[in-house]
């Protein structure tokens, strides 16, 4: 029987939105990995991009703005046998949720985090986001443009201890799907930052903008096991912007080190006091 990953809910993004590319690539990745849909949980926050779980027929949790990663952490720690993919926007993950994102990375939970980075707040109709370009005029920066330096999510991820750090572009769903496959397969926290243009509110960082700038790291012989080389690549911004796998490392996952999970996923374990233990003994 053919496995269906998409739900019957039509995506509600604007025509041409970069997020369609992410949806397509994610479907390709699920297919390639032959994941049973009921073993996938898509977790998101709030934003245009965060509506993504509704367009898939997997389990989904569409939570609060900026709090997708902690919810996903709880799900994964309760049941590590699930494939947990977090999806959301740049505001969600690098703005209000930045702290959670980075703490999850150092924990090295086996999560895959796809950030649909459009350098703008889409759903709230176009304010500056943490990745907005210096000088960009938005509804919250109408006079001077943005006057704070954008975050560098890949450099931060690298510094925070993420063990898989990659960048894709909605204009190249094949490369993205490939990175997602690798990211999901990777045992540990995988960040896939995606240039996913907002065609409605961001007229600066457009498909054309990125298309004319991106190049693939593999084409320049980048060594993804070298953190310093990776850091140097994350600083490249301007006429040439690298995509692909920046960094990858092997490190035990948090779940592997958590003793309470030795006997398998928590929902399948028995609950209550173990029969051979008198929990009150120590209180005498």
């Amino acid at each position: 029987m053919k496995v269906v990953y998409k739900s019957q809910t039509k995506a509600t993004w604007c025509p041409g939105c970069g997020d369609y590319g992410v949806m397509a690539a994610l479907e390709m990745a699920f297919k390639a990995l032959k994941l049973p849909p009921h073993e996938i949980v898509l977790v998101s926050g709030i934003g245009c991009s965060s509506n993504l779980p509704h367009f898939f027929k997997t389990y989904g949790f569409h939570g609060l703005h900026g709090r997708a990663v902690p919810v996903a952490t709880g799900i994964k720690l309760a049941n590590p046998s699930l494939t947990v993919v977090v999806a959301g926007g740049d505001g969600d993950g690098y703005g209000i949720g930045l702290g959670h994102s980075l703490h999850a990375m150092r924990r090295n939970l086996d999560l895959t985090y796809v950030v649909m980075d459009n350098e703008i707040y889409g759903l709230t109709t176009g304010q500056a986001s943490p990745t907005s370009t210096l000088g960009a005029k938005t509804k919250s920066t109408p006079l001077t443009g943005v006057i704070e330096a954008p975050v560098n999510p890949l450099a931060l991820a690298l510094s925070a201890g993420a063990t898989f750090v990659a960048r894709a572009f909605s204009g190249d769903p094949k490369q993205m799907a490939d990175l997602l496959v690798q990211g999901i397969r990777h045992k540990g926290f995988a960040l896939v930052d995606v240039f996913s243009p907002c065609v409605t509110y961001n007229h600066l960082n457009t498909f054309d903008y990125f298309r004319s700038r991106v190049y693939k790291l593999e084409s320049v012989g980048h060594d993804p096991t070298d953190p310093v080389a990776a850091f140097r690549r994350t600083l490249e911004w301007g006429e040439r912007i690298p995509t692909g796998l920046f960094y990858r490392a092997e490190r035990p996952t948090y779940e592997d080190l958590e003793p309470a999970l030795k006997d398998g996923p928590l929902p399948h374990q028995r609950a209550g006091f173990p029969p051979d233990v008198d929990p009150l003994k120590e209180f005498y």
């Binding site: 029987m1 809910t9 509600t12 049973p36 849909p37 009921h38 073993e39 949980v41 977790v43 709030i46 509506n51 779980p53 509704h54 027929k57 997997t58 389990y59 989904g60 949790f61 569409h62 939570g63 609060l64 709090r67 902690p70 919810v71 996903a72 952490t73 709880g74 799900i75 994964k76 720690l77 309760a78 049941n79 046998s81 699930l82 702290g99 959670h100 703490h103 958590e258 003793p259 309470a260 999970l261 006997d263 996923p265 928590l266 929902p267 374990q269 028995r270 609950a271 209550g272 006091f273 173990p274 233990v277 929990p279 009150l280 209180f283 005498y284």
Partner: protein, 587 residues
């Protein structure tokens, strides 16, 4: 009632808590009921610290009033606590450190100088050994055999061979010194009470109750006075198979617990008011996604950072208002260590039965103080059933409605990993299937109706919970001249006050509202309408439970006893107020 209270005081770092807890343990080992109350500062070293250990062959519920033995490690202890010594009591101190004048203690109180440092120096050079001496002194004064103290010391210091030997010798020296120079107190307890008691703090009881009810996941961020829940569970995580996750903050803690619960396990988070304030947004999400969740909120003196080491019941209004919009929630306010165990277990059951968040509202007083208990106070619970309650439909079945509108408001719940039951849990308004209303359907007449129905469905749970739970009952005399009304830890000193009032010939009883929400308004009105007189008693400024009762029933409280200085109620304060309100002069 026969009882004995020891108070020990000194500077942080003097080992005050160890002395106090050891004495509490000694009491429960000997079969006495005990209560241990601690007073400390929000710094790690320095500042005045004390501990009151009270014991009795009968049930006691609080630290009581005053003490019989004051073991003062510094001069400040004498200044602050000597006035609380009761007639027949004794002040123990080391004259090498400071001197005490006879008029520094109340009448009929003796002064017993003990050369603790000098005696200790025989066995080791560390001044901390003085407490070994002190504990021996106290044991003797309390009329307890040295062997019990030695047994406890051997257990707690067992691994530290030389230290143990020193402590055994020092305590023996103290014991002998007291016997020689004083004997036992008039109030000394008998050599043995009943069968040995458990000694437990509210937080330990909460942790135990949670595990008994099936807890598999705790995510918490440290905050006094909730922190020791995590400490205890972390230490037992492996043997009880519980994931204990210290989160990066309270926002993460609650969202992680919601995630774990969504994935199918009983999950909890615990914090104090300031941390709960950070959980407010996600608290509402648990209700909207209909995810069971237990939150322990152990209150301390506010507002804001307030007095981190002092108690208060000032957060009820925050808990009841927590999160935007309207949704069903349950708030429980246990009134003893045993209730903390039982109500926490009940919280898990309610959360799961009604798929909504439940708050266990404790406070510093209940969470951190220790009480002696009988084993029967903590009933064994049946092993929790598995959560996989929804049968898996044949492959591809599409009829599953996660948010089906049912008469109870509760819908069949699936767990990620179950085949064919995939759904989205969303914080946006959604229809029965989980499909969003907010995205493209809001305001369309049919979906305006869906929105109304989903609100009705969720809110309907409240009356179901009210019906399914027991209304509060009266404790104490019936009929009574006066009915006290309170919630949470206030029950503890109130129970001791009821006993004192009985002794004074006043028939009083207490309506313990252990479930402030949903309130059993009608039952409460019935009780209070037939009460001769009422007295609202709360550990806060504005009588928050009283406001809830008034809002629900229209019934008002002309008389109130409200305390908001950070100290718990003392039973005698309550007695005095009752005397005043019932028109008696307090003698």
């Amino acid at each position: 009632m026969q009882e004995l209270a020891l108070r020990v005081g000194g500077a942080a770092g003097d080992g005050i808590a160890t002395v106090g807890e050891t004495f509490c343990r000694l009491l429960t080992r000997q079969g006495f009921y005990a209560f241990g109350h601690t007073g400390y500062q929000s710094v790690i070293r320095g500042g005045h610290v004390w501990f009151q250990a009270r014991g009795s062959p009968e049930r006691i519920w609080s630290q009581g009033d005053g003490c019989d033995v004051l073991y003062a490690l510094d001069r400040q202890t004498v200044e602050v606590h000597a006035p609380t010594l009761r007639p027949g009591g004794v002040l123990v101190f080391d004259p090498e450190k400071f001197s005490v004048l006879p008029d520094q203690v109340p009448p009929k109180v003796k002064i017993l100088p003990v050369p603790t440092l000098q005696l200790a120096r025989k066995f080791a050079s560390e001044p901390i050994l003085q407490n070994g001496v002190g504990m021996g002194v106290v044991s003797a004064l309390a009329g307890q055999p040295l062997s019990v103290l030695h047994g406890i010391l051997t257990e707690s210091l067992g691994r530290k061979g030389a230290v143990l030997a020193q402590n055994l010798s020092a305590s023996e020296a103290g014991f002998r010194y007291a016997k020689e120079h004083f004997g036992a107190l008039d109030r000394a307890l008998p050599e043995k009470g009943g069968s040995p008691k458990l000694l437990m703090s509210g937080n330990q009881a909460i942790a135990l109750g949670a595990v008994a009810a099936g807890l598999k996941f705790l995510s918490q961020y440290p905050m006094t006075p909730a922190t020791s829940i995590m400490h205890w569970l972390a230490a037992h995580a492996e043997s009880f198979h519980v994931v204990v996750k210290q989160a990066e903050d309270e926002l993460a803690a609650i969202n992680m617990a919601i995630g774990a619960s969504h994935a199918g396990v009983r999950a909890m988070t615990a914090t104090s008011g300031g941390g709960f304030a950070l959980m407010v947004e996600a608290f509402g999400m648990a209700a909207m996604t209909e995810t069971p969740l237990v939150v322990v909120e152990s209150q301390r003196s506010g507002p804001s950072t307030g007095l981190p080491t002092k108690t208060e019941q000032g957060d009820l209004q925050m808990i009841l208002g927590a999160s935007q919009g309207e949704f069903p929630r349950v708030v429980l306010g246990p009134g003893s260590v045993a209730e903390a165990y039982r109500e926490t277990a009940r919280a898990f059951q309610l959360a799961e039965d009604w798929q909504t968040p439940v708050v266990v509202a404790s406070d510093l007083y209940l969470s951190e103080d220790v009480q002696g208990l009988d084993r029967e106070d903590l009933p064994t619970l049946p092993t929790p059933a598995s959560l996989f309650t929804v049968p898996e439909p044949p492959e591809g079945g599409n009829g599953y409605l996660r948010y089906r509108d049912t008469p109870s408001g509760v819908s069949p719940r699936a767990i990620p990993g179950q085949r064919g039951l995939m759904f989205d849990a969303g914080s946006d308004e959604h229809d029965e299937s989980g499909r969003l209303v907010s995205d493209v359907l809001s305001g369309i007449p049919a979906y305006v109706e869906v929105r109304r129905k989903m609100m009705d469905k969720r809110m309907r749970k409240l009356s179901g919970i009210r019906s399914a739970t027991n209304p509060p009952t009266l404790e104490g005399s019936d009929p009574a001249e006066i009915t006290l009304v309170g919630w949470g830890s206030t029950a503890m000193p109130v129970r001791d006050a009821l006993a004192l009032l009985k002794g004074q010939g006043v028939a009083a009883n207490y309506l313990h509202v252990a479930q402030p929400w949903p309130l059993h308004g009608e039952a409460i009105v019935q009780v209070l309408r037939s009460a001769k007189r009422t007295l609202l008693i709360e550990q806060n400024f504005s009588g928050q439970l009283g406001r809830v009762i008034t809002a629900e029933t229209g019934l008002r409280f002309p008389d109130t006893l409200l305390k908001y200085d950070g100290e718990p109620f003392y039973p005698w304060e309550i007695v005095t107020k009752v005397m005043e309100v019932t028109g008696r002069v307090h003698r």
